[in-house]
């Protein structure tokens, strides 16, 4: 499996990856360092201090933005993963029929459509169809609901994709054996299917959460409805306009890095935690 690389190949790989790592990490490192700035201006270094960490953590706006982000991400993750899970189940069972090709494409559309188009499409529909529609029934579709709606749509694309891919390694024999042994449908579901699919489930959750947390466009366009909603990325974006951008922008970013990194790493780990060689080769034909 591992072939011995040539010397020149090794050298090339070394320099190439070094260059890339520097390019990728340099801005990040500076960003994090400037969070420890003692001066009050984000673009000028004056010395080391933790004062901006203290002040950011007490900033009510930042707390509420963080809260909003986590809330939106949690709810849309639950929605997206649930929907995606059942879709993947269905799609797996019916993978022989012609229709699944089309619906599979539909489900992955959010990944292959520019986010800006998804966002303005949703903005237009929310403003011209859903909001007036909800008002007819005396309901308010506020920006929180609109943003959750948008994030769920985005996350569903990712969740469906991950779950659908995980289903390829699903061992149907186990299920059939369970049925042969007289298991009820409920038992089959909870004791055979769910445990097998748990890793994919967790991976999809983490990915959906990260997608929601990272999203700028959908929140930017959909948070416009009246009582507008500030998510963390929007808060960071608006920090730019404040009187003398303070190092708070760096602090918030560093904190966000920590949160997102956790979920991302978790998702990464889970989507690959399966022992090698177990999944059957994908058949493209």
């Amino acid at each position: 499996m591992v072939t011995r690389p040539l010397k020149i190949e090794k050298l090339f790989f070394g320099t190439w990856s070094l260059l890339l790592l520097v390019a990728l990490y340099l801005p990040v490192v500076f960003l994090v360092i400037f969070g420890f700035n003692s001066g009050s201006f984000a673009l000028r270094w004056e010395g080391f201090s933790l004062r901006w960490y203290a002040s950011t953590l007490e900033n009510p706006e930042m707390i509420s933005a963080l809260f909003n982000s986590l809330l939106v991400a949690s709810i849309s993750t639950v929605l997206a993963v649930t929907l995606g899970f059942f879709y993947a189940l269905w799609s797996h069972r019916h993978s022989q029929t012609k229709l699944t090709g089309a619906t599979d494409a539909l489900m992955t559309l959010p990944l292959f459509m520019p986010e800006i188009v998804i966002s303005i499409g949703l903005l237009v529909v929310v403003a011209q169809v859903l909001r007036p529609g909800a008002e007819l029934f005396g309901l308010q579709l506020d920006s929180m609901n609109a943003v959750i709606l948008g994030h769920t749509t985005l996350a569903l694309g990712y969740a469906a994709l991950v779950l659908r891919n995980r289903f390829r390694s699903y061992d149907l024999q186990q299920e059939l054996a369970a049925i042969d042994l007289g298991a009820t449908r409920k038992q089959v579901f909870f004791q055979v299917m769910v445990p097998q699919l748990m890793p994919g489930f967790a991976a999809a959750s983490c990915l959906a959460f990260a997608v929601s947390l990272d999203d700028f466009y959908v929140s930017y366009f959909l948070s416009t409805g009246g009582s507008s909603l500030q998510t963390l990325p929007l808060f960071i974006w608006s920090l730019q306009g404040r009187r003398a951008m303070t190092p708070e922008i760096n602090v918030v970013s560093s904190l966000l890095l920590c949160i997102a990194m956790f979920f991302f790493a978790a998702g990464l780990l889970l989507s690959r935690s399966e022992p090698q060689g177990k999944h059957p080769k994908r058949s493209d034909s």
């Binding site: 890339l20 292959f112 459509m113 303005i120 011209q128 730019q240 890095l257 080769k281």
Partner: protein, 281 residues
Amino acid sequence: MRWWGMPAKIWMSCFILLPFLWLALLSLQQTPAVNAPRQVDLHQYARALSPPFSNIIFNSVLTSLLAALLVLLIALPLTWRISRMPQRKRNLWLALFTIPLGLNFVVRVYAWFVLFRPEGLLTKMLLDLGFDVALVSSQLGVFIGLIYGYLPLVFLPLYSIFDKLNQSQIEAAQDLGANLLQRWWHIILPETRLGLMACFLFVFVPMLGEYLIPRMIGGGLVATLGTQIESQFLGSGRPNWPFGAALSLCLLAAAALVLLVGFSLLRWQKSERKASWSLDL
């Protein structure tokens, strides 16, 4: 069981297909005014497809095509090498390259801007080295920003492609004396072409609609499809939703065109329709 797929399908139809149809409808409206008589015509498209907007569309497509290609080319040798490492090392390397993704996109763009602004550290360093290039408020800056912003996205999907590649064939070719180029051209590329195409689209499409990078790094000076669309909805000018909708559909059309051309170049077969699923995140 038969209906389990329904909720998700309804959801996607409501929030992806319906918005798309609504945009299409909106784009046929002649004037932005809400209470104007609803005349239906192609006026908005005529405007979108004539200068200066046609140039902007063309430029955006070209820039994104190039940037997406470069992103793939940059990441390709690395992921290839990683996919041929021992298991333990692989995860470490992969993590190393994907961790920047943990940083919010807005923040990543901002961090890049801070280093390359006229008084930024790297600009000054480059100047000391004798390179006097404007990496903000310029087309070049936006181009490089696009590459920087989207590079971390392709490592994982590319890796998955190579990871699933059947190694024995390559080894056989190597044993038979095929050199590096021959191996790539005759075996690796044909085997992975669909996945590569999916990866390409995965970065190309969002690049095409990118708003943050031209806004922050380009200073609002570099006109792209993304900035033009945004400005029809929430921009500094008067909102013009029908025109914004027409521009969005042009964007989708451009993306679809690239997709079609791309796949037909690859001699895409009907049986391989599930290409989108070869993207493994």
